[in-house]
């Protein structure tokens, strides 16, 4: 995969895992059905609805990614040298985006579907920050030592999201948003001026003193 950007995928995957984990926790009995949370293309699961049969499946769709206006900063910022040998330099400002997900369930009983939706809402409510394991970049919310870290996660109202998914009819959907960083690839190493070479070439007057002009 090399240097392919992974932030959006990581955030999506982490959210799916968080929701999946939230649906297996709680007061449900041990035999409760485990609800998988699929991160997939919008239309496929509904085409497979019948194939799912009695099994309740949750699907998480990333449907919209827009720049976070309040966090827009042009230009570049200074990056100090890190103790691990990271270079000192100037990095392009991070692009912060709001990533909207739509969550829905398919298959299984109505009780199972509503239970999954409720569990998802509860999980997001209980986790206002989405931890993506790796340390968030400088300036990210919760980056200060000792505080919980992660990217802001919240429930949002999006009644038209079923249309955004390209569905022909309304379905029960709930929406979440995560504010995530896309780090700039621009990096200019910082180099201080350590010396100057001054070359002053001053020619004498056109008619040197003592000579007839």
């Amino acid at each position: 995969m090399g240097d392919r950007p992974r932030t959006l995928h990581d955030v999506s995957r982490r959210l799916a895992l968080l929701l999946e984990g939230g649906m297996t926790e709680g007061p449900s009995d041990a035999e409760a059905e485990k609800v998988p949370v699929l991160l997939s293309h919008p239309l496929d699961p509904f085409e497979e609805d019948e194939a799912l049969g009695k099994r309740t499946t949750a699907i998480l769709y990333p449907i919209r990614i827009v720049p976070e206006r309040g966090l827009r900063r042009p230009g570049m910022s200074y990056v100090p040298p890190s103790p691990g040998g990271g270079a000192e330099g100037f990095r392009g400002e991070t692009l912060w985006v709001r990533m909207r997900f739509v969550f829905t369930v398919a298959g299984g009983s109505l009780e199972g579907q509503l239970g999954a939706v409720e569990a998802a809402l509860r999980t997001v409510h209980d986790n206002p920050l989405l931890d993506v394991e790796d340390a968030p970049p400088e300036g990210a919310p919760g980056a200060a030592g000792g505080e919980p870290r992660g990217y802001p996660l919240r429930i949002v109202d999006d009644p038209e999201s079923w249309k955004d998914l390209g569905l022909g009819e309304h379905r029960l959907l709930i929406a979440f948003e995560v504010t995530a960083p896309i780090e700039s690839s621009r990096f200019e190493p910082f180099e201080r001026v350590t010396g100057r070479d001054l070359q002053v070439e001053l020619a004498g007057p056109a008619h040197p003193p003592g000579r007839p002009s």
Partner: protein, 316 residues
């Protein structure tokens, strides 16, 4: 976009006319003797700086030698603004007491040359004989210092250039006014120096300052030294005025800023008649080549001096 630096770069240009550096007199040094030599912190801290109106203390008079004091007094009486006088207590502070007088004179000369503002060093009396070779060697190595050495011989005083930034002033044996004449020569050179200040512009517009008659110094020789002082003054002004760039971020913005400030300074020098406007000038600031030199910048300036007697506009 900001980066932490040791100190901030100046908000406005630091470029202004700095002149050709300080005038220093090194004469026949005398060292404080006895069990309790009269040492003070100021004596050891450096050569004594004298300005117009300063009183020459007996201590300095004995430590610097009559020749250096006479030259300094003549220099100040003739309108020189300030000078530096080497003296024994200062030299004793860094040269070993076991050193011979010749070694002490050479040490004093080296220390004078190492001063940040060293410009012109005049060697008189004993020191002239003891440190002459070193003085010429320093002149060959340091283009920013002018060395003038007193020598004896001949029938009449005469100035002999010994390179672009060195000269010897020869006086007949027994000639008693050698120190005074050297002080007057230094004052004459200072009086003819370029300056951005209005009194200079008015004075030079009326008559050629620094053109007083001096025994043994032809007009051509004196003007050659005055041209050197202008060249060095300009180089020194650019050097001092761009020092702030050290430790700043070596980025195109910095290099363009240096270019713009130097260009503005040279344009001002053109307006004041120091540079030949018809010849133009060029300023280029770039990264010094090669990966190993990545932290260095190169500032190349090309210009032509205007004739000393060029008409100089006096601005209101």
């Amino acid at each position: 976009m900001t980066a932490p630096c040791a100190r901030e770069a100046p908000r406005s240009s630091a470029l202004r006319w700095r002149g050709a550096g300080e005038i220093a007199f090194l004469g026949s040094l005398r060292f404080p003797g006895g069990e309790d030599p009269p040492e003070t912190v100021s004596d050891r801290a450096g050569p004594r700086r004298l300005a117009a109106g300063d009183r020459v203390e007996a201590e300095l008079r004995s430590g610097a030698g009559a020749d250096a004091i006479t030259a300094a007094e003549a220099f100040l009486d003739a309108g020189g603004s300030a000078c530096v006088v080497a003296h024994g207590a200062w030299v004793e502070g860094f040269a070993s007491k076991a050193a011979t007088p010749a070694e002490a004179a050479r040490a004093a000369l080296s220390a004078l040359a190492e001063r940040d503002d060293a410009g012109m060093i005049l060697l008189l009396g004993d020191s002239a004989g003891q440190a002459r070779d070193l003085a010429l060697e320093i002149a060959a190595r340091r283009e920013d210092i002018f060395v003038l050495v007193e020598t004896r011989g001949g029938d009449a005083p005469s100035l002999a250039p010994a390179g672009e930034n060195a000269a010897t002033m020869r006086f007949p044996p027994g000639y008693g006014d050698a120190s005074r004449d050297l002080g007057l020569l230094a004052a004459s050179l200072c009086a003819g120096d370029f300056s951005e200040e209005r009194p200079f512009l008015e004075r030079t517009a009326r008559s050629g300052a620094g053109a007083d008659f001096l025994t043994g110094v032809s007009k051509r020789e004196r003007e050659a030294i005055r041209l050197w002082r202008r060249k060095e003054g300009l180089r020194r002004s650019i050097d001092r005025g761009t020092r702030w760039a050290l430790l700043e971020a070596n980025r195109p913005f910095l290099r363009r800023r240096v270019e713009r400030e130097v260009t503005a300074f040279l344009r001002r020098m053109e307006d004041l008649g120091l540079l030949d406007r018809s010849a133009g000038f060029s300023v280029e600031c770039s990264r010094a080549g090669g990966a190993a030199e990545s932290g260095r910048i190169e500032l190349a300036v090309k210009a032509r001096l205007a004739p000393l007697d060029a008409g100089r506009p006096v601005k209101a």
